[in-house]
């Protein structure tokens, strides 16, 4: 920390502390000390104060305690000559800044001043959890927080596009010289939002606390750390959250102060102006503060300084390509041409071939391309046949590869893909067409990406694209036969029919003691990994995050306990877990990393189990929202009575089979019921309880335990007559 930087950070911290103090005094005067304050949808109160100090701030008076602590941290500026050490002081000033910024923003919520126009404001716990799996599997290798404004709108867009291309999640905000990058992007028509990897937090530097108090929560959500383990939380973010700050324009005292806070978390700052650099590492992994004036080099410099591991596949197509474009929509007014959906017949199929049958890199378009469309015609039929060969390829991997096509298409800027198989729907935007994108390029994308991600099993990839009606109809008949055969084979796969389960340890980069054991009938709790996925992943990368666990001796077929699973879990959970059962929420249940799709909780008085999914933000009959519940089960800790699961697990025959299965289910949000629809109906019929779904309460029926009990008794829910859970 050069003296100039330390002095500026300390000055900035003092300004922010004064603002916090004045705002707090005003609020105390107008609302009284017991007035309740808080951010929306979080179980972590003021997350920074919760993580660092262990305080659970719910009232203005309690916010005063945080302020007093922060004030006690504020150091003096270093002297001109014969100065005393200032690094620790500047870091203290940074912590004080974060705590005060959090107070200011929560007070803004009290006064309804947040979120700011076009901005996200506070980031909820739900967002953190739903992004969990992308953070660990490399799809989202890092985070950038941009503060300020670029010299021109073009530069702003270019910097953001460079980050998007590397799939880095970008938080934009703050201002420089009265301009904010948020407005620069808005004026340039850049689509923002979580789906686009660009999230505006606010137009002032103080609101930069949002990405930071979001990041610190990951330590408690995934890292198994407790509130108040401040130092450990800071080390967690340094080691596991690959974030950095990018300041555009003048770095003023407030930005230095906030930057000092970020540096405490191990996040380096990169500036486009002439600032004093801080090169020695230790607080950050590499340099702490660097400058780069060249906007072509600034993004690579950021990545280097933070040590972000980016996997970029350069694909020769005329539009940008990357995960950041996955969530982008092509709306009607932007539409150039579409395939499938209601507009035409389309399908996509991956089929395994013998190596001698196909030619790698052969991409053939049979029929017209989209530049040959007649006037006013905006649609074509489409059949995509992808033939793959590989020594280690198995027939079972076909659907896994096929499921990735959705991502591969969507990574193209200006291309939207929905659905799968013969229910797919692809749109191409006018912009993309104008830049030169054609149907044939989609073939190039698929060929490149299959090699890129599945190079270990796919040696050859040949692609044929049909755009003539008669060809599509002919090929479709063959494709539908393949789909049907696959469904039959997959449906018959049970835990008993295989001799190996697979572990999923991907989340250990975030939750070092957590481990998932995935079986044919139990999907990973994130919903993203099925048994086949993990099997394929192991074939592709034997030293990766998925390992085979031979079933061996079964200790308890009811609870689903195997000696080999116990041994493996004990070893890989750093000896924090001894026993692990697959089918019970009560006896040695599975643990959770934090990115579960749903949480189940026992409701003892009802002798049953409720389930709530991530997107449901309302109250549940156990008295806790999803977010609060989630707070008690993450981080790889075994919590009998609570279980994180994937949605699709509800339709499995092994759904908490040791505890009575679906008959135990007494409450679930309406949306989740609808989401699982047909599959769930089929399951309740199979178990001989065809009217069970009507007996399961939802939020329109009960949000308290009392209401729930009344309802269950009224409908005579089977859980009431099952043996006691405990």
């Amino acid at each position: 920390m050069s003296k100039i930087v330390a002095a500026a950070a300390i000055r900035g911290a003092r300004v922010i502390a004064r603002e916090a103090e004045e705002f707090l005094n005003k609020a105390l005067k107008e609302h009284g000390p017991d007035a309740r304050i808080g951010f929306p949808e979080t179980a972590f109160f003021l997350p920074m104060a919760n993580a660092l100090l262990g305080l659970e701030v719910k009232t203005l008076k309690e916010a005063g305690n945080v302020f007093n602590y922060a004030k006690g941290l504020l150091p003096l500026e270093p002297k001109e000559k014969l100065w005393l050490p200032y690094l620790g002081d500047a870091l203290d000033a940074g912590i004080a800044t974060l705590l005060c910024e959090e107070i200011i923003t929560v007070l803004r919520y009290l006064y309804k001043q947040e979120p700011q126009t076009d901005c996200n404001g506070f980031f909820t716990d739900t967002i953190l959890r739903s992004l969990g799996i992308q953070l660990v599997d490399g799809r989202m290798p890092g985070f950038a927080a941009i503060l300020g404004a670029a010299p021109t709108n073009e530069i702003a867009v270019s910097v953001v596009r460079q980050l998007q291309e590397r799939n880095i999640l970008i938080f934009v905000g703050s201002s420089s010289g009265g301009r904010s990058i948020i407005d620069q992007l808005k004026e340039s028509g850049v689509e923002m939002g979580w789906d686009n990897y660009i999230v505006p937090y606010g137009r002032d530097t103080i609101s930069a606390i949002y990405p930071l108090n979001w990041a610190i929560r990951s330590a408690m959500t995934f890292g198994g750390l407790k509130a108040g383990q401040g130092k450990k939380c800071l080390l967690y973010t340094k080691e596991r959250v690959f974030a950095f700050g990018l300041t555009l324009g003048l770095v003023d005292d407030l930005k230095y102060a906030t930057g000092a806070g970020a540096i405490n978390m191990g996040f380096p700052i990169i500036a486009d102006t002439d600032i004093p650099e801080i090169k020695p590492s230790g607080i950050t992994t590499y340099e702490a503060l660097v400058k780069e004036f060249d906007y072509k080099k600034i993004v690579p410099r950021c990545i280097e300084v933070r040590g972000v591991r980016v996997k970029v596949s350069k694909i020769p197509i005329p539009v940008l390509y990357g995960a950041a474009f996955e969530g982008e929509r092509v709306r009607r007014e932007q539409l150039y041409c579409e395939f499938g959906g209601k507009s035409s017949q389309a399908f996509e199929l991956i089929s395994m071939r013998d190596s001698s049958q196909i030619e790698d890199g052969k991409i053939e378009l049979v029929g017209p391309d989209i530049d040959q469309l007649p006037e006013k015609v905006k649609s074509l039929p489409l059949g995509i046949l992808i033939e793959v060969a590989g020594r280690k390829l198995q027939k079972d991997f076909e659907p896994i590869l096929e499921r990735q096509l959705h991502r591969f298409f969507n990574y193209c800027m200006g291309v939207m893909h929905i659905g799968q198989r013969d229910m797919n729907w692809i749109r191409i935007s006018k912009d993309a067409f104008a830049k030169g994108l054609r149907v044939k390029h989609l073939g190039i994308v698929l060929h490149a990406m299959i090699h890129e991600e599945f190079g270990a099993i796919a040696d050859k990839v040949q692609i044929t694209i049909f755009t003539k009606e008669e060809d599509v109809q002919r090929e479709l008949i063959k494709a539908r036969q393949v789909y049907a055969e696959r469904d039959e084979r997959l449906g018959g796969m049970t835990d008993e029919s295989v001799d190996t389960f697979y572990s999923c340890e991907l989340c250990q980069s975030f939750a070092p003691n957590h481990i998932c054991v995935i079986t044919p009938e139990k999907v990973g709790l994130c919903g993203a990994y099925s048994w086949l996925d993990t099997k394929a992943a192991y074939e592709i990368a034997p030293s990766g995050g998925n390992k085979p666990i031979p079933k061996g001796e079964c200790l308890d077929p009811v609870n689903g306990e195997w000696a080999s699973v116990n041994a493996y879990v004990s070893l890989r959970s750093n000896r924090t877990l001894e026993r692990f059962s697959m089918y019970s929420i009560v006896n040695n249940p599975s643990t959770s990393c934090g990115c579960f799709e749903c949480i189940m909780a026992v409701i003892p008085e009802a002798n049953g189990i409720m389930i709530v999914h991530r997107d449901f933000s309302g109250m549940t009959p156990c008295g806790m929202t999803f977010t609060t519940l989630a707070g008690s089960v993450g981080g790889g800790i075994q919590t009998p009575g609570f279980l994180g699961v994937g949605k699709i697990y509800l339709t499995s025959k092994k759904f908490i089979s040791a505890d009575g299965g679906l008959r135990r289910l007494i409450w679930m949000p309406k949306e989740l019921k609808e989401l699982l629809g047909e599959k769930l109906i089929k399951r309740v019929q199979e178990i001989g309880e065809p009217d069970l779904l009507e007996k399961i309460a939802d939020e329109t029926i009960a949000t308290t335990s009392e209401e729930l009990m009344l309802f269950l008794e009224k409908v005579k829910h089977p859980a009431l007559t099952l043996p006691p859970l405990f």
Partner: protein
């Protein structure tokens, strides 16, 4: 008169001229008169341990005596002598720790009203280490129990010391394996004297192993206890700025010098000197105020906690009196020259001795009792003020030389310095070493000695180390030597350091030389090394660290004890002049080579400061290589 008068800092040179003009004999003059020093003594091969002797071994004449009357050869004689030196040095530190424990207990019992517990959290940490129950108890109760446990450790007969458990596991296992883990504090000293009696331990290796055990009981015992309790009683230091050299004495103020080692006295004098009643009295006597300044190590105790300026180091104690402006010199013990009362006799200066362990003929003896600490301090200061009008205006000469410095670095503070209060970490230091910005950490410590080019050895050595990106830590008179040259400032980083070290200093805002206190606080260097190991990336034992210690101008037996506890803990230690072992080839081989196979540490002797630096740098580089660290970044 003295040929070597041009050595040293400008104030020293100036005052030596004044002394010469006044016809006052100083340490340099006496050193010349002693030349040539006794060759047998220098080589360590004369023995006076029984009345069949004294005996001496002839190192040159093949027909001369090779054995003493009892049959002891050069190896045994040199080893016995060296063990006695180690023991005397360790006894000093251990006794210092005992004094602190006594004051600490009296303070805890409320019997020493001038003293109180100022560092609660450190008290609790230490109490827990000693197995004293902390929860739900008053500080006083905790402190009394802690004091009793520490006293008991002095008399402990078996087992291991408490604070030595702070060392890394690998290092402790090494001590246990070698059988040199100290079992108590006093017992090792007693056993050493018994072993060196005629006809007891006659194996130089065995004698030296016990020497290491004695030294360890000092560094990880008495010295560490002294440091810890001093912090608890008189506050834990944090960096502050102050000044050094004889120029801190003021012409128009009552000047009181504290000299010696134990802060129980010096801190109380410094505290009482700000009593408004006394300041009023001083003004009534025509002075503008009261200046308390320190000499030697006790100066550094009050420097690192109160910012009290340092008048001078060991060699300047006589010169300070020759300024003619010192109303009173208050001494306790260690490194206090017997010549002082005589020199004071040339001026109005009163010399007060205070310790029942250390009497000085010609001085006034006022026993310092903790129970009446503040009153005694006030009484002494009052007498000093009364003495102010007695100055002989014709014999006044205050040199102008004075430099600013930053001091007060501790093992605990480094956490905060590098990581702030929340992150609190050594990682930037370890990273600095691992990445090749810092070559290693070297303690430049010890005394100043009239045999050497006093002061200059330190300055030349340190500049060379800084140039080679070596982070320096200092204690004692060696630190004062650098303070007087203005090296203990943060600006030094930009004048003398290599680019890597400069980047670290710029980032942290610290000087490239960290002043950690008096020589008893060398224990801080031990604990800091433990924290470096703990922070990871630089090995698992103290012997693996790229560190070294050097005492270029050592003179006291305490320096030998300190050197040995570092060697026994796995460090390279370099002395300027050798201690007396060169008369025995086996002993020379043992201390410079063989011991390395046992502890990982070893000795080197080299007078030339640039060659010293070379030895150290090569050692650091070899440790770096073993640890497989990155090459130096800007080489």
């Amino acid at each position: 008169m003295a040929e070597n008068k041009f050595y040293g800092d400008s104030a020293t040179r100036e005052m030596r001229q004044v002394a010469e003009d006044l016809g006052i004999q100083t340490v340099w003059d006496r050193e010349l008169l002693q030349q040539p020093h006794c060759g047998f003594g220098l080589l360590g091969i004369c023995c006076k341990n029984c009345n069949m002797g004294p005996c001496r071994i002839d190192p040159f004449n093949p027909n001369g005596p090779k054995l003493g009357v009892c049959g002891a050869d050069a190896d045994v004689i040199a080893a016995r002598n060296l063990l006695r030196h180690i023991t005397a040095g360790s006894a000093c530190h251990n006794d210092h720790g005992r004094e602190l424990t006594k004051a600490f207990k009296l303070a805890a019992q409320g019997k020493a009203p001038g003293y109180q517990i100022t560092d609660e959290s450190k008290l609790k940490v230490l109490a827990q280490e000693y197995g004293v129950k902390v929860e739900g108890r008053s500080l006083q109760d905790i402190a009394v129990d802690l004091a009793d446990r520490i006293f008991a450790e002095y008399g402990q007969q078996e087992g291991e010391l408490v604070l030595i458990q702070r060392a890394p596991k690998k290092t402790k296992e090494m001590w246990r394996k070698l059988g040199i883990m100290p079992r108590g504090i006093d017992r090792e000293v007693v056993e050493a004297l018994a072993r060196t009696n005629m006809g007891v331990d006659n194996d130089y290796r065995s004698l030296m192993r016990h020497g290491m055990r004695v030294a360890l009981s000092d560094g990880w015992g008495g010295s560490m206890i002294a440091t810890e309790l001093t912090d608890i009683l008189f506050r834990s230091p944090r960096p502050l700025d102050s000044r050094a050299n004889l120029g801190v004495l003021k012409y128009d103020q009552v000047n009181i010098l504290v000299h010696g080692h134990v802060p129980v006295l010096s801190d109380m004098i410094a505290q009482a000197a700000s009593d408004p009643e006394l300041i009023k009295l001083a003004k009534a006597k025509g002075a503008s105020g009261i200046t308390v300044a320190g000499v030697c190590c006790t100066a550094l105790e009050v420097l690192i906690r109160r910012g009290v300026p340092v008048a001078g180091n060991f060699l300047q104690q006589e010169l300070a009196l020759i300024t003619g402006v010192v109303e009173m010199l208050i001494v306790d013990l260690q490194c206090v020259m017997p010549s002082l009362p005589n020199i004071a006799g040339n001026f109005h200066t009163k010399v007060i001795s205070t310790s029942p362990r250390a009497h000085f003929p010609g001085s006034e003896y006022v026993e310092f009792k903790e129970e009446q600490g503040y009153e005694i301090a006030k009484k002494l200061i009052r007498a000093a003020i009364e003495n102010y009008p007695n100055r002989n205006q014709e014999k006044i000469h205050i040199p102008k030389a004075v430099e600013t410095l930053v001091s007060g670095f501790t093992t605990e503070y480094i956490f905060e310095m590098l990581g702030g209060k929340t992150l609190s970490t050594y990682k930037p230091l370890n990273d600095g070493v691992a990445m090749g910005r810092i070559r290693g950490v070297v303690g430049v410590v010890g005394c100043d000695n009239p045999k050497m080019q006093s002061g200059e050895t330190h300055i030349k050595l340190i500049k060379e180390l800084l140039k080679n990106d070596v982070l320096v830590v200092q204690t004692g008179c060696a630190a004062t030597a650098c303070g007087k040259e203005g090296l203990l400032t943060p600006e030094t980083a930009f004048k003398y350091c290599g680019k890597g070290l400069q980047e670290i200093c710029e980032a942290v805002g610290c000087p490239p030389i960290l002043h950690m206190g008096p020589c008893v606080d060398n224990s801080r260097i031990l604990t800091a090394c433990c924290e470096i190991v703990g922070a990871g990336g630089l090995g698992v034992g103290l012997d693996e660290l790229p560190v070294a210690g050097v005492a270029p101008e050592w003179m006291s037996e305490k320096a030998i004890a300190i050197g040995w506890y570092f060697v026994a803990s796995g460090a390279l230690v370099v002395f300027g002049q050798p201690y007396p072992v060169y008369g025995s080839k086996n002993m020379t081989n043992y201390v410079t080579k063989e011991v390395e196979e046992l502890t990982g540490g070893k000795w080197a002797f080299e007078i030339d400061p640039l060659k010293m630096a070379k030895i150290i740098i090569e050692h650091l580089d070899s440790k770096r290589k073993t640890l497989n660290l990155k090459p130096m970044m800007y080489q």
